[in-house]
Symmetry: C2
Subunit: 300 residues, 2 copies
C-alpha cells in the first residue's frame, strides 16, 4: 500500500472535482468511471485511468466512491471486479453517496470483516466547491478509518465534521440535510409562483426575501436560476426524488410522519413526471407556472 | 398638524419598541393600547398616553398601527373613536399588520377618499430589532404617503424597501415572506424530530446544518429554542396559523395550489389544537416529539 496513491471511483461533476483537488495536493490519483470521457479528462490533468474498480484500488491508501446511490456503491465494493478484494489490508474505503444509515452499516460491516476500513463520508457543497477542495464532509467511522482517510479528506474539504465513531452517523446527518434542502427548494419555487400570481416584481422579491426572515440557503442559491430562466442541471430534480424518497422510507420505517418532506417529494415527483427529471431542481417553479399559467422569466 | 408628533396605536412587543425608537429620534410620541400597562411604560420613557385612537392621532403627522390583523386595523381607523376622522388632512396612516393585499387596498381607498394618506408598511425583524430601530419595512404607497411617512420610517427601520406606488404591493411581499417563514419553521421542527428519531446529537446537528445547504434563517433562529427547551413566545404558533391561513385563502382565491404552505399550516394548527397556540412557534417540534415519543432537550 502506497500512502500517496488514491483511487476515485465515479468521475461525475463531484468525483472529478475531488480527483482534481487530490492531484493538486500531490496525490497519485487513479480514476475509474463507466464513461470513457471523464477518464480521458482525468489523464489530461495528470491522473491515471483504470478499467475496473479493482484495478483502481490496488495499492491505494484510500478508495473514494463518489456515485449516486447505495446500489452503485455496493457494486463498486462487491461486484465482480469490485474493489473490496483488491484493496490492501488497512486501506480505507471512503463512501460519499447519500444512503440510508442502515445500508451504510451493512456495507461497512461486510468490508471491515475483511480487514479494510470504511469511512461513512457524505458530502455537501456542489461541483464548484468539489473542484476547489472546499467541500463539507459529514464523516463517521472508527479512529483507524479516520486516521487512514484524513490526508485525502483534508485535500477535498474546507469543513470536515467528525460526527461519531461508527459508520451510519454521517449518513444520518446527511439525510436530515437533504430533508431540509429538498423542502426549501420546493418552498422557494412555491413562493416564487405565489409572488408571480400576485403580480410582484420577482427580482425585487428576491432582494427583499434574501434580506428577510424568509430566506434560506436554497432560496438564495436556486431562485437566480428561475430569474435567469436557466434550468441546465447544476443539481437535477431526480436527485431529490431519490433523496426525499430515502427520507420518506426511513421515516415510515421508524415510524415518523414527515409531512413537509412528503409534500416536497410529491412536487419533485410531479416535476419529474412532467418530463423535467433531468433538469435543474429549480424546475419545480416551472411545474407551478405550467399548472397555473403563470408568467415566469423566459430565456433570451 | 405638527411634524414632530407621531401616534403609535398598539403597544405590543413590536409597537412598543417602535415607539421607543421614535422617542429616541426626537419625536413626540402619543400611544394608545387596549391594555393599561404598556401605556404606563410608554409614559415612563417619555411618551404620552391617549385613551382612544382618535385622541392619539390628533395633530400627528403620522399614525402608526402595529396590531395583529385586518379587523383590528379597520377598527383603529373607522370604529367609533377611530383615528381616521381625527387625523389632520395630509397626515399619513402607516399600517404594519400582516394583511391580504385586497384588504389593504380597500382600507387605503376608504381613508384616501377623506384626504389622508395610507402607507402599506408591513414589518419584519422581531421585537429586538423593533426596539433598536432596525426593522425591515416592506412599503408601498403614493409618493405623497412616502414623503409624509419617511421621517418616522427612518427612525424605525434599518432597511426600507420601497416596493411600489400603491397600497397592497408591500402586503404581497410580506405574504410571500410569511409563506417561506412558516414553511421553514415547520421544516426545521420536522428535521429536528427526524434527527432525534435517528438518535443524532442535536447540538452537533445544529452546527452541521447551519453551515450546510440545508440552512434557513428560521432554522438558525428557532432551533436554539428547541435545544434550550425554551418555548416562551418570541413569536407564537398562533401568528402562523393566522398568516399561513391568509396565504392559503389568497392562494385558493387565485386559484393556486400551495402544498408546502398547506402542510405547514396543518402542523401549526395541530400544535395549536394540542394546547400550544400561545407558545413559541418552535413548539411544532414538541408536537412531533409528543406524537412519536421522541427525546428532545428538557428545561432545567
Amino acid at each position: 500500500m502506497d500512502p500517496s496513491r488514491i483511487a476515485v471511483i465515479g468521475l461525475g461533476a463531484m468525483g472529478f472535482g475531488m480527483a482534481a483537488s487530490l492531484i493538486r495536493a500531490g496525490f497519485t490519483v487513479t480514476g475509474h468511471d463507466v464513461q470513457p470521457a471523464p477518464l480521458a479528462q482525468l489523464q489530461a490533468i495528470g491522473g491515471l485511468s483504470a478499467a475496473t474498480p479493482a484495478a483502481a484500488a490496488r495499492d491505494a491508501a484510500a478508495v473514494i466512491a463518489v456515485v449516486v446511490n447505495a446500489a452503485q456503491t455496493e457494486a463498486i465494493l462487491f461486484a465482480a471486479d469490485g474493489c473490496a478484494a483488491a484493496m490492501a489490508e488497512g486501506a480505507v474505503f471512503i463512501s460519499c453517496a447519500t444512503m440510508p444509515p442502515e445500508t451504510v452499516r451493512g456495507l461497512a460491516a461486510r468490508l471491515e470483516a475483511t480487514g479494510r476500513h470504511y469511512l461513512d463520508a457524505p458530502i455537501s457543497g456542489g461541483a464548484a466547491r468539489a473542484a476547489t477542495g472546499a467541500l463539507t464532509i459529514m464523516a463517521s467511522g472508527s479512529q483507524a478509518a479516520f486516521a487512514q482517510a484524513r490526508p485525502a479528506l483534508e485535500a477535498m474539504a474546507a469543513t470536515l465534521h467528525e460526527l461519531g465513531d461508527a459508520p451510519g452517523i454521517g449518513a444520518g446527518f446527511k439525510m436530515v440535510n437533504q430533508l431540509l434542502a429538498g423542502v426549501h427548494i420546493a418552498a422557494a419555487c412555491e413562493a416564487i409562483a405565489f409572488g408571480a400570481a400576485l403580480g410582484l416584481d420577482l427580482r425585487k422579491l428576491y432582494d427583499v426575501i434574501t434580506g428577510s426572515a424568509g430566506n434560506s440557503w436554497m432560496f438564495e442559491n436556486r431562485v437566480p436560476h428561475i430569474l435567469d430562466a436557466d434550468y441546465a442541471p447544476r443539481s437535477a430534480v431526480n436527485i431529490f426524488t431519490k433523496d426525499l424518497g430515502i427520507v420518506l422510507d426511513m421515516a415510515r420505517a421508524t415510524p415518523l410522519a414527515v409531512p413537509m418532506a412528503g409534500a416536497a417529494l410529491q412536487l419533485f415527483l410531479m416535476t419529474a413526471s412532467a418530463g423535467m427529471g433531468q433538469d435543474d431542481d429549480a424546475s419545480v417553479a416551472r411545474l407551478f407556472a405550467t399548472i397555473a399559467a403563470l408568467d415566469l422569466p423566459v430565456a433570451h
